[in-house]
């Protein structure tokens, strides 16, 4: 086993998993927040667009989205997210396409988590904000959303943990992350099969378990006392 670990860059693969997770987390939080605000806005057209986004994305397999990002957006439609002249163009481009796919997919779940967070804010808060003359935008920005984020820590945390595990799908378009390396190692040394799996499985347990604990603590400490 020690040989295998020396031969393959396991830590590097997990580093790529972490990179994908962090960038996609930021991307999905941004898109998800925008869609959530659209879904509760006073303009019916925006509400319909938000609901449409969530219903379409949530019901599409992530594998399809990621593979489409590569074969559809890049190969067929010529979308480039990296500098074409750089020597690492294909690698960078695939990583960014994977981040794009992961962000778009998880944004739908972030949006639903935030909506459940908005539901934890008592009606009196928004009514008070309106009665002192705040507009919808001010109401959302200064009164409702800050509390909604604090109330939505648990579902947001679950989404982020799912995102960490779902970065493995990026191997479908050749991003060198943990599951891709595991497949490679198993193919070249099938006698070490169980050991290799346990190492990678343990890697994900090490990544997700502290996240779970962190989000549980955060949801307790951030919860608005009412």
């Amino acid at each position: 086993m020690a040989d295998l670990l020396k031969q393959y860059d396991v830590l590097g693969a997990f580093w790529m998993t972490i990179v994908l997770t962090v960038f996609s987390a930021v991307g999905s939080l941004v898109i998800g927040t925008v869609v959530a605000v659209m879904r509760v806005s006073p303009v019916a057209v925006l509400r319909t667009m938000g609901a449409g986004y969530v219903n379409i994305v949530r019901n599409t397999p992530l594998t399809l989205i990621i593979v489409f990002c590569n074969i559809g957006l890049f190969v067929n439609l010529g979308l480039r997210l990296a500098d074409k002249s750089s020597s690492t163009f294909l690698v960078d481009n695939n990583i960014r396409l994977a981040v794009l796919g992961l962000s778009v997919y998880h944004a739908a779940f972030v949006c639903e988590a935030l909506r459940s967070g908005i539901n934890t804010v008592p009606a009196g808060q928004a009514e008070a904000a309106r009665s002192i003359g705040l507009s919808f935008g001010q109401n959302i920005c200064h009164v409702v959303m800050p509390q909604a984020f604090r109330g939505a820590v648990t579902p947001l945390g679950n989404t982020m943990i799912a995102l960490t595990k779902n970065t493995t799908v990026a191997s479908a378009i050749g991003v060198a992350e943990a599951s891709g390396l595991m497949k490679e190692m198993i193919e070249f040394s099938p006698d070490q099969l169980v050991l290799v799996f346990l190492v990678f499985a343990l890697g994900f347990v090490v990544l997700t378990l502290p996240m779970g604990l962190l989000f549980t603590t955060m949801s307790r400490r951030l919860a608005v006392r009412r």
Binding site: V40, V45, T60, A123, A201, G212
Partner: protein, 286 residues
């Protein structure tokens, strides 16, 4: 916050004008994006009849898409049934009085909940291949089903635990006080109630299983996404093939989501208020 209107005042004439303006702007942006996408698709020749005509001929469906759909549905159906059975056993194990059994089930559930489904599929596929558990035709299906079953059984086990936990304490006490053992109480009083409350979540889990079955394409399982790609290569219409495959997935999953919502509402009407243990249908990204 129960109704949406709490967030904003009833619009007056000026606000209504502003909202119309925003709505028009939003519509224009949406149409602009759509137009841009269509023009990009057209520029690469994706909108020509030649690319879409294959979907009008029967053999596209009988040779590519329908076998793929059957593969997807087959893997999902086997997995959800196995996951239900295994999840029920694990959930009961976690609630058991027997400490080693409880520990074993807890570790099992927590482990398989935190390992990505794809890792399990790759592992199971290779184990079956190396030790020749299944013949080569069934290999990929077995790998997909194993991965999906282990993950979803762990999720189901948690649903069972949450469902039983949300029942009033009097139910268990009543069972014990008429002389049933703890196991009998669990089996004949608590579980039937918890399972009814779980029904919407189980339907919602079907959506997760269907979506995750597309991971099978990575381990060479013949399912809808893989068949779509084969079709796209064969007929040189990759983008249209993706669009059709996505539409099929979205249609099936959307129907299941609607069904889950309907089951939930129906049960609430019948007074199963303990349904709060069941999370909103496809609430998980898993």
């Amino acid at each position: 916050m129960t109704s949406q209107t709490v967030l904003f005042d009833t619009p007056g004439p000026r606000a209504r004008r502003r909202h119309t303006l925003v709505a028009v702007a939003g519509g224009v942006v949406l149409l602009g994006v759509l137009a841009w996408v269509l023009s990009r698709l057209a520029a690469r020749g994706n909108l020509t009849p030649a690319k879409w005509n294959p979907f009008a001929s029967a053999d596209t469906w009988t040779e590519y898409l329908l076998p793929g759909l059957v593969g997807t549905l087959e893997a999902a159906a086997i997995s959800i049934v196995l996951a239900l059975v295994l999840g029920l056993l694990l959930g009961m194990g976690r609630l058991s009085e027997n400490r080693p059994l409880r520990w074993f089930c807890s570790v099992f559930v927590e482990f398989f909940r935190s390992v990505p489904v794809l890792l399990m599929m790759i592992f199971a596929f290779n184990v079956y291949a190396v030790y020749q558990v299944f013949d080569s035709e069934q290999l990929a299906l077995a790998g997909v089903v194993t991965g999906l079953t282990l993950y979803n059984a762990s999720v189901m086990a948690e649903l069972v635990r949450a469902g039983v936990g949300s029942l009033p304490a009097g139910q268990r006490e009543a069972g014990l006080s008429i002389g049933l053992t703890a196991t009998q109480t669990l089996r004949s009083i608590l579980l039937p109630q918890a399972l009814t409350a779980m029904l919407p979540a189980i339907v919602g889990q079907l959506v997760v299983v269907l979506k995750d079955s597309a991971l099978g394409s990575i381990i060479t399982y013949v399912e809808l996404l893989a068949q779509g790609q084969t079709l796209g290569t064969a007929r040189a219409n990759m983008v249209p093939a993706f669009i059709v495959v996505a539409a099929i997935f979205i249609a099936i999953n959307y129907l299941l989501t609607v069904l889950a919502g309907r089951v939930e509402r129906r049960m609430r009407r019948r007074g199963h208020t303990s349904a709060k243990a069941a999370p909103a249908a496809p609430g998980q990204a898993g």
